[in-house]
């Protein structure tokens, strides 16, 4: 029996075990939406802006380790996906984005709602397709999911002209792939593993920089064994938080621009840097010429193009972190680094990472830490971008694997709400906290309607300082306090929530924090807390842009509120 392109798409998605699709209907995807009722096993979540669909698919993908699927119509629908696709690309999240296109005969004629979305997304997708023949559609979907989910994951876009959705052909889902130009190296080269092991065994002051690659390949056990066996202190990139217990004695927290003093000191004084599943982002390295100046570098990554891209590497190991770490665990010596670890403990004491200063105002660090305490770390934390993101990274202790979801590479404000929606939809049994900034929250605020319509029980904490806070902090520190266009007039977020039929409360004082968090957690559905924090609170330490990690600074030690929390 012949099937339409739209039916073939839906059946192919089912073959790929897709359960949820985030999207918005429109003219060029009408035939696809028209077939949805035939396939009730595909749950479509109607978002309010296509950016929300892409971020939601991204959030879903990061917590399920399956490709997130989003769909948009041609033209503006497709271009609205772009920020979310770019975010997934930067952070290596698997995604299949489906866009409608004008009918084939209109392509290139500047038709209504026509845009060259394959051209636009060329540099922000792992691969993309324009399907001009319905007979190619099933094969294309199969390839798209394979490419998105294997190797270094990433987004793949499929652009389908409206007439192709309506044309008919026999549906055969291919068993085999024909991708001669797509190779994934999963096992590390034995000679490289041997060389890496030798450096590790000989090192006196080793440090690991752990990235999201460990989470992507779910190498938590192998990684823990690796760090413990050779007694290797662990620092994390932002997206590497949650690959190793944050309360472990070997854990030093995040490195980089807003990293802990201890992590940055360890990296700058290491004789060996073991970088795993990370890409030496400038926010992690600071000035690359002065980065880890005394260290030899081992770089383990599945993407050969990451080796030597930003930092010269002594021993590269190209492969999947899970298999490379398992192989390394066989050949590294069990070791102790007593002197090095006592030096690290000295730094940890000198630069305590969880201290919160005394203040009459409500401090964001306190709020985040109380969310950690209330959830006992058993929550998925989805952040926005800026100060809220850094406070969330630093004052929540990530003890649960893969519990921080953040737009790390692209840094898109407005990621938090739709991504949290996708996270909670993908893992409904988990508690999902959305840590939003008041600026970013307003960039995708319309998704409150989606959350309400689908009753997605996200707990929203707005860290509200009435500023575009991170930029204000830079203006304060590097632009002589000229706060140009960073002060925000904000609406009443509690009333906004109420208008969306979502309960919310405002918190202004410290003693209200714990009861508010409790209330949010006890409520069975979505809940919003608007935390009015000290407006000019900063995130410290900070490494000024372009400086070495050793140049981190924070103001003179103030009176401490709670000591080491």
């Amino acid at each position: 029996m012949k099937k339409t392109g739209a039916q073939i798409l839906c059946e192919s998605l089912i073959k790929e075990e897709v359960e949820i699709i985030f999207g918005i209907i429109g003219g060029a995807v009408l035939p696809i939406y028209d077939t949805f009722p035939q396939y009730p096993q595909l749950r479509h979540i109607l978002v309010r802006h296509e950016q929300g669909a892409a971020h939601a698919a991204d959030g879903y993908a990061r917590v399920t380790h399956k490709a997130g699927v989003c769909i948009a119509t041609s033209g503006p629908g497709a271009t609205n996906l772009v920020t979310g696709i770019a975010c997934a690309y930067m952070d290596s999240a698997p995604m299949v984005a489906i866009t409608g296109q004008v009918a084939k005969s209109f392509i290139g004629k500047d038709a209504f709602q026509e845009t060259d979305i394959t051209g636009i997304t060329l540099p922000i997708t792992k691969h993309n397709y324009l399907v001009t023949d319905v007979a190619e559609l099933a094969k294309t979907v199969k390839e798209a999911f394979h490419i998105a989910q294997t190797g270094r994951p990433g987004p793949v876009l499929i652009d389908i002209p409206r007439d192709v959705q309506q044309e008919q052909t026999d549906f055969v889902y291919p068993d085999k792939l024909d991708l001669p130009g797509y190779k994934v190296v999963s096992r590390g080269h034995p000679a490289q593993i041997k060389k890496a092991a030798k450096l590790i065994n000989e090192s006196e002051q080793p440090v690991i920089v752990a990235g999201r690659g460990i989470i992507i390949s779910q190498a938590y056990d192998e990684f823990k064994e690796f760090a413990e066996k050779a007694q290797l202190p662990v620092t994390h990139t932002l997206l590497g938080l949650g690959c190793f217990p944050g309360n472990h004695i070997l854990d030093l927290g995040m490195l980089g621009m807003h990293g802990t003093g201890c992590a940055n000191m360890a990296v700058q004084n290491a004789d060996l840097l073991i970088a795993i599943g990370m890409r030496f982002d400038d926010r992690a390295t600071g000035n690359t010429r002065e980065f880890a100046p005394n260290a030899r570098v081992i770089h383990i990554d599945i993407d050969p193009a990451e080796i030597g891209k930003n930092i010269p590497v002594d021993v590269p190991v190209v492969g999947d972190t899970k298999s490379v770490l398992a192989a390394l665990n066989e050949v590294i010596d069990r070791r102790e680094h007593v002197d090095w670890l006592s030096q690290i403990e000295q730094w940890r004491y000198e630069y305590p990472s969880l201290e919160i200063r005394h203040s009459d105002e409500l401090l964001p660090q306190y709020i985040i830490h109380q969310i950690y305490k209330a959830t006992k770390g058993d929550a998925l934390v989805v952040t926005g971008v800026g100060q809220n993101q850094m406070w969330a990274a630093r004052y929540f202790v990530y003890t649960k694997p893969n519990s921080l979801i953040s737009g790390g590479g692209l840094g898109p404000m407005g990621f938090e709400l739709p991504a949290a929606m996708g996270v909670k939809a993908g893992r409904p049994e988990e508690v999902a906290w959305c840590i939003a900034g008041d600026g970013g929250f307003q960039m995708t605020i319309q998704e409150l309607a989606t959350i309400r319509q689908e009753n997605i029980a996200v707990k929203i904490a707005i860290i509200n300082n009435g500023y575009l806070g991170m930029v204000r902090q830079w203006q304060e520190l590097f632009y002589e306090r000229r706060y140009v266009d960073t002060k925000l007039w904000n609406p009443d977020f509690v009333k906004i929530a109420e208008a969306y039929d979502i309960p919310g409360i405002r918190v202004k004082r410290r003693e209200e924090v714990i009861p508010a968090i409790q209330k949010a957690m006890e409520y069975p559905g979505p809940f919003l807390i608007d935390f009015l924090i000290e407006p000019e609170e900063n995130i410290y330490p900070i490494v000024p842009p372009g400086e070495s990690l050793a140049k981190f600074f924070e103001p003179a030690k103030p009176e401490v509120l709670e000591g080491k929390l």
Partner: protein, 163 residues
């Protein structure tokens, strides 16, 4: 690290948009292409592309790895250090008067180039060879007045029976 000229040869799928993917990659990563030549290969459905890019060895290694990541690129190698045959073709339209025509034809003969078109005020010369040969001929014809020039850019294969 010093910048030098590198010859990169890529076997790519002959599909719409592939050239754009490759050109876009060079632009996106700020790599400079000096020439790019593309045409059929011994495999049906695959084209062979010869790219001449200038950069230091680390940059060129990045180019090669980034190209290799493209799904439509089957194989890519930097053959600069290998024993290779390179050729370029150029068409040169040079001003020719009754008094200079025979001199031009002599030069063309020395270079084993061909005259492919003769007109009252000009001659069109076809030359094939490595870049030095094309450049030398151009240098000599320059004084007569080059009216138009079209070069294909380098194409290259490694020598010997290995592929």
């Amino acid at each position: 690290m010093t910048s030098t000229k590198h010859t990169i040869v890529a076997l790519v799928e002959d599909k719409p948009g592939v050239l754009n993917r490759i050109a876009s990659l060079f632009r996106r990563r700020s790599f400079n292409i000096q020439s790019l030549a593309v045409g059929g290969s011994e495999h049906p459905g695959l084209s062979r592309m010869t790219i001449v890019a200038v950069g230091n060895s680390a940059q060129i290694e990045q180019v090669r790895k980034q190209l290799d990541k493209l799904i439509n690129v089957i194989k890519v190698s930097d053959i600069t250090e290998e024993n290779m045959v390179t050729r370029e073709l150029a068409l040169i339209k040079v001003k020719a008067t009754a008094s200079t025509r025979s001199e031009i034809m002599q030069i063309v003969g020395i270079f084993r180039a061909n005259i492919v078109d003769v007109a009252p005020g000009s001659l069109t010369v076809e030359v094939t060879g490595d870049e030095n040969k094309v450049n030398s001929l151009l240098g000599l014809l320059h004084d007569f007045g080059v009216k138009e020039l079209s070069r294909t850019g380098r194409i290259a294969l490694t020598r010997g029976s290995s592929s």
